[in-house]
């Protein structure tokens, strides 16, 4: 699909301005339909404002932006955030009348606003403070008592409300309603009694509540983790990318006295458009808790700290012995928390020094790497402007919240057509997406029925009319483009851990075969899992989306000898480890004991392997069980780049120093190679990044230097050649201190802008010497071929098919280590249709025993009308971890059927 063919805001942004207006005596060309305040801002005229936010619909309630606008009856005062430009319009923003109006509004806003700026978190970065100075009368005539209210009110565990400071701009209530789609807060009462309020029994427990704090133009909403943590003038900040999930939201990380205190969302047009989820926003707290701060060796039940040279000697000794014993005696698991540079260094170390292809960044909970890397990739902008978005993934609200936010906005606001294929109804269908169901294990059959030429057969778990509707939607959307399927974007993930990934790979292959023009957004959720796959941390895959065999000649000339055979994926690797076929298992930030869908296998593997080496930032279950632990720097403690689910590469920056003697993971790889008498060929980040650009085919033209240029702050989508024109750009990115208070000056990253900002493709990147690979670049991985879908076994009448999904706040390291997020973890339950509980004679909330082939667990039962009668729905990684959770039932291949029993 050519990028310019994408419709919507993207295309209109390219149109030439056609409306001429006069603003303060200067002729300005404005875009048709643009708001006066936007046109003025582009022309360099700032109009004061509070309620206006560039990412929400205008309401014109605060009246601060009153300006004189000419009309049929001469000039009149009108809110410039609400009036759209018209040809020949004349606007006066600083006339006597406009100034008087603005001063009057400001005086009124301050009537009841407490003058507690010295103790207010917003003081120093407050739009009200700033605009009172620039556009206020400078004095007040109000001598009466201001209103007083109890404060602060905890409207959720994360958000506190100070009603006295509220100026009723309605940014927070509009965000909750318009953007997040959950109006859990609204104005109550009227006149001088008006207040933002929740419903008494319903706290503001939204995954997106932190955004209301970010956009509040006064100190009325404050976030529990940042209350009184710092003053704005003590903050240092750097622009970076959030790596708590694979969306890759652009943020600024702010620190005070060497400690991270706050994340704010940056208005990156193609990605997060200034929004963040609360897990991303407050997950930084995990940086300070439970860290591995020095190399450690197991001693008895605990670990003793050792020095780096000793640790490197011991690890290298174990690895050298394993490598000498033959190929494939070492396994490397994890890497989704690393930077791209870390991942590349470890991929190279594993292949060339450790002589193994047993590397996997996923823990048997994602999709095959060849599927993820081989399918034509879509961007988020393409998805929100698509003819049809098909989701075949876990609940995006739980797994990739900001992607959900963008799709929801497009669905609810811009009429995007969304087809949700899901076993259990998800958040998008609750917002109006068309849904078609299927029984776990039958996903390929469903896709076959949706795309096949023949009249669709019966699909288990799907009702016939739903299949027909979905088929019609897909056919209509697919026929719209030049290539069949053009304009269709498929969000492909792994919704159910108790269902084999191969079904989704087959479904994707079928979709691609039927709709060659369709593009895919792989919905894997771990932070930099896409970067890790892109950098070759997957069996049979080399850096830059190249297969082991296709890339052998190229990489042997660049790297030296490669392993002969394709390695094992996480599950087979751990099975081999359990069988004693592995000498060393290296965990790159992976915690298989907690994260593998089959924890029993992880336990057996860690016991069966010769030695376990953990390169870890946190003490988690697996690093605590390792013989040797090497401390690694975590997010915001090292520089580099990261790759999101679009394949977009952005820079991550260092803001604080790692604890103790922790190193970035790539330096650990370099040091281990050196200890083993080898040389990885780079010893600083620049040469490492340049080598990736030179060697990895999908990364041509992308290195840290290029990413550091201001024009590429929102990153570059790899491979560059496949993406012609950027979509949806609204012009140069503005850091708007009124839209996002506290973000006024983001430190520049990397080199300053050079003349001629285009990225040069081909040719040798300047300034970096070194032997390059010889021969022609290997081709990128292509889409997998489709096969005949396997059929799942039939479900017997007494069993329920298991769905194991995920939730945003689970027992993962990031959430568990964050003091603000850990208490938000929900109770572990098993959701079933009420009739199932009736049949058992169990009431809602009572415990039941869930028995499957892999064992039995006890969970509280929860009746849910939305769950089909033949399903049992549970969420992985909940509970305390002391008793086995639902994930202990996940074992082997194929869908899992369970029975419910009373206790």
């Amino acid at each position: 699909m050519s990028e310019t063919a994408v419709g919507g805001a993207g295309a209109s942004a390219e149109e030439a301005p056609t409306v001429s207006v006069t603003i303060d005596g200067v002729a300005v060309s404005a875009r048709p339909g643009e708001l006066v305040i936007e046109a003025a801002e582009r022309a360099g005229v700032f109009v004061p404002r509070f309620c206006y936010h560039p990412r929400m619909d205008p309401v014109g309630v605060c009246r601060m932006c009153l300006v004189e606008i000419s009309g049929p009856r001469g000039f009149s005062l009108q809110p410039s955030c609400y009036v759209r430009v018209a040809d020949g319009q004349e606007v006066r923003t600083s006339s006597e009348k406009a100034r008087k109006a603005q001063e009057g509004v400001l005086e009124f806003l301050l009537v009841n606003h407490p003058l507690d700026c010295p103790v207010c978190d917003k003081g120093g970065e407050c739009p009200l403070q700033d605009q009172a100075l620039t556009h206020g009368p400078g004095d007040t005539r109000f001598v009466e008592e201001k209103r007083h209210w109890a404060k602060p009110i905890e409207i959720s565990p994360l958000v506190y409300l100070d009603r006295e400071r509220c100026i009723q701009c309605s940014r927070c209530t509009r965000f909750a309603d318009e953007v997040a789609g959950e109006a859990l807060i609204d104005f109550a009462f009227r006149g001088d009694a008006i207040e933002v309020a929740t419903f008494p029994s319903r706290p503001f427990s939204s995954y997106f509540s932190g955004n209301t704090v970010q956009i509040c133009p006064v100190g009325a909403l404050t976030a529990a983790p940042y209350r009184f943590a710092s003053r704005p003038w003590d903050l240092e900040q750097v622009e970076t990318t959030c790596t708590s999930c694979a969306v890759g939201c652009r943020i600024v990380a702010q620190s005070s006295a060497g400690k991270l205190v706050r994340y704010l969302g940056v208005d990156a047009d193609p990605v997060n458009q200034s929004w963040l989820c609360d897990r991303g926003r407050y997950g930084f707290e995990a940086n300070g808790e439970g860290r591995v701060s020095s190399p450690s060796r197991r001693k008895g039940e605990g670990h003793e700290a050792i020095r780096w040279p000793e640790a490197l000697r011991q690890v290298a000794g174990a690895l050298q012995a394993a490598a000498a014993a033959g190929e494939g005696r070492v396994g490397v698991l994890g890497g989704a928390r690393l930077t791209n540079e870390d991942a590349y260094a470890w991929a190279k170390l594993a292949r060339t020094v450790l002589r193994t292809d047993h590397v996997d960044a996923q823990l048997d909970d994602g999709l095959p790497a060849a599927t993820v890397l081989g399918l034509p990739r879509a961007t988020i902008d393409e998805a929100v402007h698509a003819r049809l978005v098909v989701t075949l993934a876990g609940d995006l609200r739980e797994e990739l919240p900001v992607l959900y936010l963008r799709l929801r906005r497009a669905l609810a606001h811009d009429g995007l057509a969304v087809l949700e294929c899901s076993s259990v109804p998800q958040a998008l269908s609750a917002e109006g997406a068309t849904r078609v169901g299927y029984l776990p294990g039958e996903v390929a059959r469903l896709v076959g029925a949706l795309t096949g030429d023949a009249e669709p057969g019966e699909v288990p778990g799907a009702d016939r009319s739903g299949v027909v509707t979905a088929r019609r939607m897909l056919a209509a959307a697919a026929a719209g483009g030049a290539t069949r399927g053009e304009g269709v974007v498929v969000v492909l993930g792994r919704p159910n851990l108790a269902e084999p990934a191969v079904g989704y790979a087959e479904a994707a292959a079928l979709l691609h075969a039927a709709l060659p023009g369709a593009r895919f957004l792989p919905a894997l959720r771990r932070g930099n899992v896409h970067g890790a796959l892109e950098m070759g941390l997957a069996p049979g895959v080399l850096p830059g989306r190249v297969g082991l065999e296709e890339g052998r000649a190229w990489y042997e000339s660049a790297w030296g000898n490669l392993p002969g055979a394709t390695g094992r994926g996480a599950r087979e690797l751990l099975e081999a480890a359990a069988a004693g076929e592995l000498d060393v298992l290296v965990l790159l930030g992976a915690d298989p004991l907690a994260d593998l869908p089959d924890p029993d296998l992880a336990r057996r593997a860690l016991e069966g392997v010769g030695s376990v080496v953990a390169v870890a930032s946190h003490w988690d279950a697996s690093s605590s069980a390792a013989q040797l632990v090497l401390p690694a720097a975590a997010a915001d403690e090292r520089s580099g780049s990261t790759t999101n689910l679009e394949g977009r590469v952005t820079r991550v920056a260092q803001k604080v120093v790692p604890p103790g003697t922790a190193w970035p993971a790539w330096t650990i790889a370099v040091a281990l190679a050196a200890e083993m008498g080898d040389d990885l060929g780079f010893d600083n980040l620049e040469t490492l990044s340049a080598e990736i650009e030179r060697v990895a085919p999908s990364q041509r033209g992308i290195d840290l230097d290029v990413l550091g240029r201001p024009a590429h702050r929102d990153g570059l989508v790899a491979p560059i050649a496949a993406v012609g024109v950027r979509v949806g750009r609204r012009g140069p990115r503005l850091i708007d201190p009124i839209a996002t208070p506290g973000i006024a000056s983001v430190e520049e990253q990397g080199a300053p802008l050079v003349v001629g900002d285009a990225v040069a493709l081909g040719g040798q990147p300047a300034g970096i010497a070194g032997a390059g690979p010889t021969g022609s670049r290997p081709p990128l991985l292509g889409p997998p071929a489709s096969s005949v879908p396997a059929t799942a076994p039939r479900l017997d009448a007494y069993s329920l098919r298991l769905v194991v999904g995920r939730t945003l706040y689970d027992r993962g390291t990031l959430v568990a280590a964050s003091p603000s997020l850990a208490p938000l973890r929900p109770e572990a339950t098993v959701r079933v249709h009420p009739s199932v509980l009736e049949r058992l004679g169990v009431r809602d909330g009572e415990p039941v025993r869930v028995t499957g082939p892999g064992g039995a667990v006890e969970l509280a039962a929860s009746a849910d009308e939305a769950v089909a009668r033949d399903l049992a729905v549970a969420t992985a990684r909940l509970g305390t971890g002391e008793r086995p959770g639902i994930e202990s039932l996940v074992a082997g291949e194929g869908p899992i059927d369970v029975r419910l029993e009373t206790i």
Partner: protein
Amino acid sequence: MAHLDDETRRKALATVALYPERRSALIPLCHLAQAQDGWLTPEAMEDIAELVGVTPAEVRGTATFYDMLHTEPVGRYVVAVCTNIACMLSGAYETLEHAEERLGVHVGQTTEDGMFTLEDAECLAGCDKAPCIQVNHRFFGPVDPPALDRLVDDLASGALDEVVPPHGVLCRVERTVGLEAAGAAGVPAAEEAP
């Protein structure tokens, strides 16, 4: 604390069906719920939210905006004294002060026996009877302090039961034309609102 009972729920569904947008039925449903309990209980607001497809916070936001909708329990009789200009000039404040003394409560409060809630009100559109009073939305006037005493006595003794229905009842005879028609056409049609 009461959810909507079956009868109210039936009327509510029929009301929702009258509007092209479910949300438009929000205020009529608040009146139905208030007719049931005399005030809007939190449970009723949650029910209404579900019926019209908004959040409970939005129902509360709307309900608290209007003085005629009560989100706190009220007495059996809600006595609203008009204090706008016509009534004020005719002695509304004397009546109001006297009412405070007589009932032993301030404006906005309910007597301990749960009989009376006293309110001051903006113009009730009863200027011909100034100073004018509404009791459970029924007009009385002109009401000077002695008339107020008589009114309170009559209400307390039940002599006005025929005239003044329980609080929240807007019309004793419901205009059921639209409701019945919508009910006959199949109430759940409202679920399909676009």
